[in-house]
Symmetry: C3
Subunit: 157 residues, 3 copies
Amino acid sequence: MDDIALRLGIGDLCAAYADCIDDDRLEEWPDFFAGDCRYLVTDRESHQAGLRHGVIYCASRGMLIDRVTTLRRVLMFEAHRYRHVLGPVRLDRVADGVAEARSNFIACRIMHDGETSLFATGRYLDRIDVSRTPFRFFERAVVLDSRKIDTLLVIPL
Amino acid sequence: MDDIALRLGIGDLCAAYADCIDDDRLEEWPDFFAGDCRYLVTDRESHQAGLRHGVIYCASRGMLIDRVTTLRRVLMFEAHRYRHVLGPVRLDRVADGVAEARSNFIACRIMHDGETSLFATGRYLDRIDVSRTPFRFFERAVVLDSRKIDTLLVIPL
Amino acid sequence: MDDIALRLGIGDLCAAYADCIDDDRLEEWPDFFAGDCRYLVTDRESHQAGLRHGVIYCASRGMLIDRVTTLRRVLMFEAHRYRHVLGPVRLDRVADGVAEARSNFIACRIMHDGETSLFATGRYLDRIDVSRTPFRFFERAVVLDSRKIDTLLVIPL
């Protein structure tokens, strides 16, 4: 696969991921990850300090599935959606079928009554299995710019 | 036309469209559409309910031209501009010279006094004539995330 | 260099530039410019009026370096960061090894306590040396949509 096709494929993966969440198709969200994966939401300072956990932490696709189940069945929260707008994807490195990429995002939050606000900004740091299609995340770290992580962080970013 | 050229062309169309509006060159706005076209601004819930109309609805390029004329000559509103920031375009399907694509946006509104706010977020759902250049919209549905459609929605999105 | 490689290269330059600022690696910021360059931050109305200066104005890479030194050693300001989200880059013209491009941005500002707000929106107007790699800016004009330029505009955009 040439460089341009690889970039387009990674861009499509990131865009499809955001659409899946924004469309509230959370049951499909774990499918964006490899079985053996890591997903976490953390903040910039914790990330720079080398802390490996976060506000949300899942160490396998099974944990992602559990998270969605919990979110659907157990958690009580006011209904809301996100709208992600993604900046361009930067491809840092490709080796042995694994691509390392980064991209920035703004996530707005739309409450049930239509109230819209700037919810979170940050960066995705990704390790992606590009050895087969469809591409899948081995690791996706969501590094938030602010430590003020809203207590409403229920839906993944 | 190969896949990459098609994607670049559609991306350019969407970017040029947003710049046209943000630059207040509204007289050029109808030129982004085919003569026989459909443009509407609606909200997510109405769209999901299958409602085919919206807060703004135009069923031909002539209606788009009328809208701009009305906006320039008749409507009284406080001067403002938008700034669109577009996420990546996803190409859903291409068949018989028609491409179906989607992209997400944030539109900020800048009032005459410089006051800037998050105005709207949402998704463009497009059907594009790619059988000739320049590409033109057969249909552009602007699906807003929020029902709170500001009474100041005068300028198209 | 073909058209697609050129576009990708310019997109990468713009994304790397924003990351450099957002990561607070300001000492590397002048390296994005040619030695003989121009960088300015202005507003839309001043730009349209043909004014060639701005709130920030640097006419060489040396002035960019001075600016960073001053910012680090002298200026007193409350610690903050930006998060840029960039829209697609439009390539206007390429001739004699110089590309003219434009792109839109939203910059959010994250204060030291995590408070996040919409800080600025606007457009980059660029003249880029594409005759050699890495690409470098001959000129980057940051045209803000609002005249309300915050007194906290210390860090470049």
